[in-house]
């Protein structure tokens, strides 16, 4: 049967199991939108293409299924780019579909033309410009395979509008074989044996886990291994949820705003088992002082992540789920960690995560704790970027994967709200809370319109301190309190929410915090809560940029 390119696209998306597309129409995607008009496919019209990209990303992070966003050529496509770069940095499988000007006009500076494959080349895992409608089905199938396999990432497909209109026989290619792309999924047996031996002889082993554990679905395998070794475990921001925070072996997050004891553990460990993490600079602090006594085993699916920042003793390339599962079986001798755990326990007692709670002022940390309490730890939390993100990471206890959704690598303000929208669509039965700052929420606040129109009932908690808080914190600590352009003049968020048709609640008293959160949860609507919090609160502990991990500012006496 012959179909137009636009219809072939829709058929392919159905074959891939796509249930929702986030996007925005425009001149060069009119044929696709015409096909969507009577297609059996949910479409969410966002208010900005960036919102569509982040929503697709949030959907993926909440479900593990590849999210899809769609935009027109030129400005539509360039508006997607922040969202694409964001997904790329955090290895999120996503498909971005863009319209392009008619193929014979490409390169002529046609209206709304941009070289989108050129622009997105360094921020996609791969991208395609489709020049023949006969290639479309194969391209889409390949794109989904590439996006979701190996180290996942966004793949962009740029489709000129004449290709969308032309007809071709719709043939779904069942098999994909890309000769130049064969991701490794099982660990090298020799390396695995060496690793098992090294682990057995360790005295102070530490597991350092990252987002790769969540992506590969290795939650159970990691838990089994950690418990078998009886080893302490710490994780990155991206790794939050890869292991239960409330578990006795948990040290929480490490790095710049990690716990004191996690960072001490890194500096004292004699063996670090890194899984699906990439030794990012926010994690390692000063590189030449990082983990001075530790041998390092690094499990990662991406060979380019290995020995990139930190020299590794035993690299194991492959999928974390397979490798951890195998390691649990391979390890027959486990180290005695009782002394090591005792030492860590003293660190935990001496330097727990803390803040100065006050009676008359709402502390942002307190708000996050109350969200935890009200949702019993079962919510999906998304964050913006900055102090709100760090407090959300520190003061909510995450026990399950895919419950903490945050822009780790790119650090994109404005991510959390549209990501919450995508997450809620992917996980409709969960409470989804965006923990935001008053600065970052305004970067994509227009998506209130999308949420209300589509009854995507997410909850927003603004930790409103009237500042671009994280930058202000740095200015306070390292730039002599010269608060250069970090003060915000904000709108009335409650009225703003109401004008969109959402519910707005303002909280200025500590005793109203929990009540407001409970109320927000009980209302089956989009709810925005504006918490007026301590204005100059800082995120602690903190490792100043360029310092070793044990040189932490604890902030409190």
């Amino acid at each position: 049967m012959k179909l137009t390119g636009a219809k072939i696209l829709i058929e392919c998306l159905k074959k891939e199991g796509v249930e929702v597309i986030f996007g925005y129409p425009g001149g060069q995607v009119l044929p696709i939108f015409d096909a969507l008009y009577d297609a059996d496919m949910r479409f969410i019209l966002t208010r900005h293409e960036q919102g569509a990209a982040h929503a697709a990303d949030g959907y993926t992070r909440a479900t593990g299924r590849t999210g899809v966003c769609l935009a027109t050529s030129g400005p539509g496509a360039t508006n997607l780019t922040t969202g694409i770069a964001n997904a790329y940095m955090d290895s999120i499988p996503m498909i971005a579909i863009t319209g392009q000007v008619k193929s014979f006009l490409i390169g002529n500076d046609a209206f709304q033309e941009a070289d989108v494959t050129g622009i997105t080349r360094p921020i996609t895992k791969h991208n395609y410009l489709v020049k023949d409608v006969k290639d479309l089905a194969k391209t889409i199938h390949e794109a989904f395979y590439i996006a979701s396999s190996g180290r996942p990432g966004p793949v962009l497909i740029d489709i000129p509008s004449d290709i969308q209109q032309q007809e071709a026989e719709f043939i779904w290619p069942e098999e994909i074989d890309i000769r130049s792309y064969k991701p490794t999924s099982f660990g090298h047996p020799g390396q695995m044996k060496k690793a098992a031996k090294m682990i057995a002889s360790a005295k102070k082993p530490l597991i350092y886990a990252g987002g790769g554990v969540i992506i590969s679905g290795a939650y159970h395998e990691l838990k089994k291994l950690t418990e078998k070794l009886n080893a302490p475990i710490t994780w990155t921001l991206m790794g939050i949820g890869c292991f239960p925070s409330t578990h006795k072996l948990s040290l929480g997050m490490l790095g710049m705003h990690g716990t004191v004891y996690a960072n001490h553990a890194i500096m004292e460990a004699d063996l670090i088992l890194a899984v699906g993490a990439r030794f990012d600079d926010r994690v390692t602090g000063r590189l030449d002082k990082f983990a001075p006594y530790a041998k390092i085993i690094h499990i990662d699916i991406d060979p380019t992540s290995i020995s990139k920042n930190v020299k590794v003793d035993i690299p194991i390339v492959g999928d974390a789920k397979n490798i951890l599962g195998q390691l649990v079986e391979d390890i027959n001798k486990v180290p005695d960690t009782s002394e090591w755990l005792k030492t860590i326990e003293t660190w935990k007692k001496k330097s727990p995560l803390k803040y100065h709670d006050k009676k008359d002022i709402i502390k942002p940390q307190y708000v996050v704790e109350q969200i935890y309490k009200a949702t019993k730890g079962k919510a999906v939390i998304t964050t913006e970027v900055g102090q709100n993100q760090m407090w959300a990471a520190q003061w909510y206890q995450y026990d399950y994967p895919r419950t903490f959704i945050s822009s780790g690598g790119l650090g994109t303000m404005g991510f959390g709200f549209p990501a919450a929208m995508g997450a809620k669509i992917g996980a409709p039965d969960k409470i989804v809370f965006d923990i935001a700052g008053d600065g970052s929420i305004q970067m994509n606040i227009q998506e209130l319109g999308t949420c209300v129109a589509n009854k995507i009932n997410v909850k927003i908690a603004i930790l409103n301190n009237g500042y671009l808080g994280m930058v202000r914190q740095w200015q306070e600590l390292f730039y002599k309190k010269r608060y250069s352009y970090t003060t915000m003049t904000n709108p009335d968020f409650v009225k703003l929410a109401e004008s969109y048709g959402a519910v707005g609640i303002r909280v200025t008293k500590k005793e109203d915090v929990l009540k407001a959160i409970e109320k927000a949860i009980s209302i089956d609507k989009v709810v925005l809560i504006d918490f007026k919090v301590e204005e100059e609160e800082n995120v602690f502990p903190m490792v100043p940029a360029g310092e070793a991990l044990n040189r932490m500012i604890e902030g409190l006496a």
């Binding site: 494959t117 895992k125 590439i146 130049s180 792309y181 991406d302 380019t304 020995s307």
Partner: protein, 158 residues
């Protein structure tokens, strides 16, 4: 250090840009580049010469090259026993009275004149970098008016 890196890639548009992007994004210059089809017309072969003072960065670039979807094989010839060649064409000042002198230079180095005119001659040479450098040195006396060189190509020895 100079590195000769070769990649076997899918013969498609955009592949060269992806590869070049890996170098340029890290502030590395590709000092020479040769691209051509292989016996299989769906595959091309690219040979690049790169100055990389930091081995770690080069190692990272090679891994990144391997990671590109369209790259099939990456070979670093730097530590491999190999033969490499470049093609050079040079237009030099020449008149009939220079014949004996020029022939002497060409015979000694193994180059040839592919065209001799009234004012200029065009010299062709196939050789490795050092051979071409010594030819250029010897041709300076005639005055080099134009010079074009291909990218380096390389092949591993047995």
């Amino acid at each position: 250090m100079r590195h000769t890196v070769a990649v076997l890639v899918e013969n498609k548009f955009g592949v060269l840009a992806r590869i070049a992007g890996l170098f340029s994004a890290r502030g590395y210059n590709i000092s020479s580049l040769a691209v051509s089809e292989t016996l299989d017309p769906t595959i091309s072969y690219m040979t690049m010469v790169v100055d990389a003072e930091d081995e770690k960065i080069l190692e990272q670039i090679k891994k990144q090259l391997n990671k590109l979807i369209d790259v099939i094989i990456v070979t670093d010839f730097t530590k491999k026993n190999h033969i490499d060649r470049e093609l050079m064409l040079a237009k030099i000042g020449y008149s009939a009275k220079d014949k004996a002198k020029l022939d002497g230079v060409l015979d000694k180095i193994g180059a040839k004149a592919v065209q001799r005119g009234n004012d200029t001659a065009i010299i062709e040479m196939i050789g490795d970098q050092d051979e071409i450098r010594s030819l250029l040195e010897a041709l300076k006396q005639f005055g080099i008016k134009e010079l074009v060189r291909s990218g380096r190509i390389a092949i591993a020895k047995e």
